[in-house]
Amino acid sequence: MSEVRYELRSGDVTGKVIDGEAIVMNLATGAYYSLDGAGAVLWELLEQGYSRNEAVEALYERFAAEREVIARDADGLIAELVAEDLVTESTARVAPLRMAFEELRAEYTAPALNKFTDMADLLALDPPMPGLDETSWGEAAIAD
């Protein structure tokens, strides 16, 4: 398993990493996901073609944590990604270009895959806002 590489599941899954957060969407299920910190980096590594072992080594270089902890967390996250049908084992065996990190040995928190199932709501021009849901966007509390 350790040298296994992964690829995005079919044409329905796409992901994008910006400002340290990965957003992944699965059009087949209508769910989207958010990963940040080590999770976002792991997603990017897998998307670039890193094997599980190569990804763990890269994460160890990038974050200040024990290799065993990183390996355990990475295995957990990869299992979740597979279970959510976001990635599947790849037959590719070519080693990827090595990613260069701007920051090394950064503070580490265990990666978490946050799942959301309200994609249609989010895509509306007036999406619901956490903490602001009491507001009716159409009729703001504006006095004329």
Partner: protein, 408 residues
């Protein structure tokens, strides 16, 4: 928070950095939870919340950490929304490219990659694609294969094809795409040359994809045309115009010539003048005159309070004011004909569709508005002329009446 405060604060936060008048003392209002929520809602309705908050994030401000976090809280949601749209844009364009199809990206989806710093600054509600006629059928097929669906009613599809200028397609997960074969509804008094949009489109690399985009001059004309469609109710479009111009000096001779060729003189003049008035946008001297927009038309449009109605985010509140605006925005030669269509209820053959009558499976009998609407238009025109002196006595009224200042 009063509408005027929300409007002025929004304007200040949407100005380009370094533009005259950037910064506004009203930003302190955001320290109060009720005003903050009201501002979020107002800027959201105007379609500029992401831009306004991005500006605030870069600026020095007087707030503590908890308050600035509360002010910027919606950015996370808007950022996620923007990324989903960008990913879907890339997915659709890649699918089409594999089939040798290369539509021109329009409107928000094009503007966010050409004129804004980040996607979150420009929301999109759908993916607008201008498709060459010979590629339309294959593009529809590819979108169907990608999970998009046509409108459910056969009458609606027929109505769009017969009277409209694009076909809306919907993805069950919430994405919308509009396949344009033209750029203006058939019933309007102006035309944009979609073949020329396609012929002059430039190609840019976006996320590794070759994306076709309209030239800035065409973007300005298209934004002016869209302003007529939503009755100059969207501040976002005025901001778009400011940013398009700021991203590179347009070929003004081309813009003026094409506006005149397409009957888009007054909408272009008013759109550019509003951008100049609100955001200090650089526009050519004597623009209305060069576009052939006369004093009577200018006065009539100013009396319809373009700035005040833009501030509400809803456009003219009275239907009669909307009709009157349409008439004055039409080229002089087409005005009488358009007035006749409006009065006869023939200005929008798809009105039945917008009213949610698809279930009927066919358009209802023609609704004739008749002489009552003609009389209402005439009376309303007289009324706003008579009210002009009273309007001039208020700050908001003076602002509206001076919309064409510095135009000469």
């Amino acid at each position: 928070m009063k509408t005027r405060d929300a409007f002025e604060l929004t304007i200040a936060l949407c100005r380009r950095e370094g533009a005259a008048g950037s910064g506004d003392g009203r930003v302190g209002l955001l320290g109060r939870a009720a005003d903050r929520t009201a501002f979020h809602a107002y800027a959201m309705r105007q379609g500029v919340l992401g831009l306004a908050l991005s500006t605030l994030r870069r600026q020095a401000h007087p707030f503590d950490g908890a308050t600035i976090n509360a002010i910027l809280a919606p950015l996370r949601t808007l950022s996620q929304q923007a990324r989903l749209w960008d990913m879907e844009r890339n997915r659709v364009l890649a699918l089409l490219a594999r089939e040798g199809l290369s539509p021109v990206l329009l409107k928000g989806a094009a503007l966010r990659v050409t004129t804004y710093r980040a996607a979150v600054e420009r929301p999109v509600g759908d993916l607008d694609l201008l498709v060459p006629a010979e590629e339309m059928d294959r593009t529809v097929e590819r979108l169907l294969a990608a999970g998009y669906r046509m409108p459910e009613s056969a009458a609606a599809i027929e109505g769009f094809r017969e009277h409209h200028f694009h076909l809306p397609m919907h993805h069950p997960n919430g994405f919308e795409a509009e396949l344009h074969w033209a750029l203006t509804p058939r019933a309007t008094t102006h035309r944009l040359d979609h073949d020329d949009f396609i012929a002059r489109a430039r190609t840019a690399e976006v996320d590794g994809l070759a994306v076709r985009l309209p030239i800035p001059e065409h973007m300005l004309l298209h934004l002016s045309s869209q302003n007529t469609e939503d009755h100059f109710s969207k501040l976002r479009r005025i901001v778009d115009i400011d940013r398009v111009i700021a991203s590179g000096e347009p070929d003004w001779e081309f813009v003026i010539a094409e506006a005149r060729r397409g009957g888009l003189e007054a909408p272009t003049a008013l759109s550019l003048q509003l951008a100049h008035h609100l955001f200090g946008t650089s526009i050519p001297a004597a623009l209305p005159a060069r576009l052939g927009v006369g004093r009577t038309t200018r006065a009539a449009l100013a009396l319809l309070e373009p700035v005040s109605t833009l501030a509400t985010g809803r456009g003219p509140t009275r239907a009669v004011a909307r009709f009157l605006q349409e008439v004055w925005l039409a080229p002089a030669a087409a005005r009488a004909q358009h007035l006749k269509r409006v009065v006869a209820g023939e200005d929008d053959p798809l009105e039945w569709l917008w009213r949610g009558e698809e279930e009927a499976q066919s358009p209802p009998a023609e609704r004739r508005r008749g002489v009552r609407l003609a009389a209402a238009l005439a009376l309303y025109q007289c009324w706003i002329v008579l009210c002009a002196p009273a309007s001039a006595a208020t700050a908001d009224g003076r602002r509206d009446l001076r919309i064409w200042d510095r135009a000469a």
